[in-house]
């Protein structure tokens, strides 16, 4: 296997595939950094370009874009307080405050290095653990999925250092926002209030653009150009020290592990990896109150996890033909177009494809490190514009981005409405993270819960008799009460 892998590296380091990986990573980073532009759309639009290519060249471009898109969201999350994509949502919570305190280069460097380490960790899992990990993941049924997502939902209680009740109400509002639409199990319209446009529910991108981008941009319009609120990188950049990374060793390992595992689970997504990793890091921290104020740990936890989901998601895709994310669906389409069928026989029939994925993922992560570190100054220039000019242009981008998802003006209205909701949340001091987590996780939790009940013939006992489910449920109960216990144990209580 090692010889085959080395041979694959030799092939992918040739000028043409290497150049395609470089183009893929660069374009992915740029698109990932711009709020309103969807990384999956970039990969989908690049797919037709690869029709006449060698399969490995197509894989080089598309996997490069995949890696770049996930990592690119760090840039706008840090410099604009707007996540470039759903995966970098949790990064915003600490990277932006760190940048506003005058340390944007530190936030970017930490995020970039954490991304690379997370990506390389998941690469190791892809290379050495693909078949057993994929088999284990497939043993997860709806009970286990529900319990796992419930753990992530319960982590909401850790996301507010102030009023936990407000955080939970925020989460409940997020859940309510996720309900409208056609019910996936009974196909009944639910909470649509008679509007046919609501049958598809509120689109995730429109909601995220609203609560993050539009809210932030409207708030920026209040602060004005003279306030100098736009984060600018200083001419002399300070490089972080090796000990800044080594001190994050445990955090990096844990976050990469969480991200890899979440990535392996089909349909869960990179944003969940970032959420679980961030809140886990906070719960295990000796200084949880620093999270959300510009803490190194928060940036590292989120970025390591969301990059680790890339390699994790490739594991079921390659070994079982099951996509772990939307972009994996496109990768499967790319293979299918070339008459290559992902699955258990891929290792036997087309080993060069398997090793091609592995070598491209490694090279793409290294190139991402180089491109992003070298390009920090240039990326900053793209958005180094006064607020009174930047806000209208970015709002235009958001409107077009929201419209481009489904070609509906309704989605633009949704984005606008949630932008106003975000302003209300700020005025009422409701943290936004629980709202978004509730919105993202509720459909997954509910559909698995109800599917589990169908499978168990409405028997709730199965939730405690299945060992993995019971374990996750116990963890979720513990997590729910952990912040309360922590506060009671503080000396000043």
């Amino acid at each position: 296997m090692i010889l085959d892998l080395l041979g694959s590296f030799g092939a992918m380091l040739q000028p043409v595939p290497l150049g395609l990986i470089l183009i893929g990573v660069f374009s992915g980073v740029v698109i990932g950094a711009i709020p309103g532009l969807n990384g999956a759309v970039l990969v989908a639009l690049s797919l037709p370009l690869t029709f006449g290519w060698e399969p490995l060249n197509g894989i080089a471009l598309l996997v490069g874009q995949y890696v770049g898109v996930i990592s690119g969201g760090l840039i706008s999350a840090t410099l604009l307080n707007i996540p470039g994509n759903a995966s970098s949502m949790m990064t915003t919570l600490d990277a932006s405050p760190m940048a506003r305190k005058g340390r944007p280069d530190r936030a970017l460097q930490l995020g970039i290095i954490a991304s690379v380490i997370g990506g390389l960790f998941s690469w190791l899992a892809l290379v050495f653990l693909s078949p057993p990990l994929a088999t284990l993941a497939l043993k997860f049924g709806p009970h286990e999925y529900f319990a796992l997502v419930l753990v992530a939902l319960m982590l909401i209680s850790s996301l507010s250092d102030g009023s936990m009740v407000k955080a939970l109400i925020g989460a409940a509002l997020g859940m309510v926002a996720a309900f409208p639409g056609i019910d996936t199990i009974t196909a009944q319209p639910r909470l649509t209030l008679g509007f046919s446009q609501m049958n598809a529910g509120f689109d995730l991108l429109a909601v995220l653009l609203g609560v993050f981008a539009v809210t932030q941009l409207l708030a920026d319009s209040a602060s004005g150009a003279a306030a100098g609120d736009r984060v600018r990188l200083t001419a002399k950049m300070t490089w972080i020290k090796t000990r800044d990374i080594t001190s994050q060793g445990l955090n990096l390992f844990r976050s990469s592990l969480i991200g890899t595992w979440i990535g392996i689970l089909p349909g869960v997504g990179g944003s969940v990896g970032g959420i679980v990793s961030y809140v886990t890091a906070k719960n295990f921290s000796k200084t949880p109150e620093k999270y959300g104020t510009g803490c190194d740990d928060g940036v590292v936890a989120s970025e390591a996890a969301n990059s680790a989901t890339v390699g994790g998601a490739l594991i079921p895709m390659i070994t079982m033909g099951i996509p772990g994310s939307i972009i994996d669906v496109i990768l499967i389409a790319a293979l299918t177009i070339h008459n290559i069928r992902p699955g258990p026989l891929l290792f036997e029939n087309e080993p060069q494809i398997v090793y091609g994925f592995m070598s491209v993922l490694f090279i793409a992560n290294i190139l991402m490190l180089v491109i992003m570190l070298a390009g920090i100054r240039w990326f900053a220039k793209l958005i180094d514009v006064p607020s009174n000019y930047l806000v209208p242009v970015l709002l235009l981008l958001c409107v077009v981005g929201a419209y481009a998802v489904n070609n509906r003006v309704f989605d633009v209205w949704v984005m606008f409405a949630f932008g106003l909701v975000g302003l209300l949340f700020r005025a009422w001091k409701i943290p936004i993270a629980p709202f978004v987590i509730g919105f993202i996780l509720t459909p997954i939790a509910e559909s698995n819960f109800r599917t589990a009940l169908i499978v168990s013939e409405n028997n709730l006992v199965d939730f405690v008799t299945r060992p993995v489910t019971a374990l996750f449920l116990a963890i979720s109960v513990a997590i729910l009460f952990l912040p309360l216990l922590r506060r009671k144990m503080k000396p000043d209580f």
Binding site: I169, I185, V391, R426
Partner: protein, 168 residues
């Protein structure tokens, strides 16, 4: 600069009223869903549970704030311990926010009603928004016009040609 400040107590009451209203609407709407063959897991079950939980949390919050105001009649401690994870400050409604929001809403309405070509409405929006947030003078108007033209052109080209998106 800023709008008229609303007292913390009034904000709390508003917050509770809005939460209870939303919970009520969700519960009522979910209750309208006819039961499915598998009645225990009807489509309305989970929304109703969440609505009940939200109403309970809102009332709990009101009770906690009421109890706190009895202990601290001056109201100085109200919301004192609340910090916002990932947020920066509380935002009141001030003129630039209102202007930008109105312009954005108007822009979306124009797109919805197809009153003007997309490029024209986008141009007008960006131009007007820049002017609304800037000092209006000859130089400012020129910069706003130039920036609007460049940004709208680039956006349309990138989305329609590169991403093959069909714009309104």
């Amino acid at each position: 600069m800023g709008g008229r400040p609303i007292s913390a107590r009034t904000q709390d009451i508003l917050f509770v009223v809005v939460s209870l209203s939303i919970a009520g609407i969700v519960y009522w709407s979910a209750d309208q869903i006819p039961p499915s063959l598998l009645a225990k897991i009807s489509a309305g079950l989970v929304p109703k549970l969440v609505a009940v939980a939200m109403a309970g949390l809102a009332l709990l919050y009101l009770f906690m704030q009421f109890g706190q105001s009895l202990r601290d009649p001056t109201g100085l401690a109200l919301n004192a311990d609340e910090t916002l994870i990932g947020g920066d400050h509380s935002l009141g409604l001030n003129r630039p926010v209102v202007k930008t929001s109105l312009l954005l809403g108007l822009y979306i309405l124009v797109i919805q009603l197809d009153i003007a070509p997309f490029w024209l409405s986008s141009l007008a929006f960006v131009f007007a928004s820049i002017l609304a947030l800037s000092v209006i003078n000859a130089r400012g108007i020129l910069i706003a016009a130039a920036l609007a033209a460049v940004s709208v052109s680039l956006t349309i080209v990138i989305f329609t040609q590169l991403f093959t998106v069909v714009l309104p």
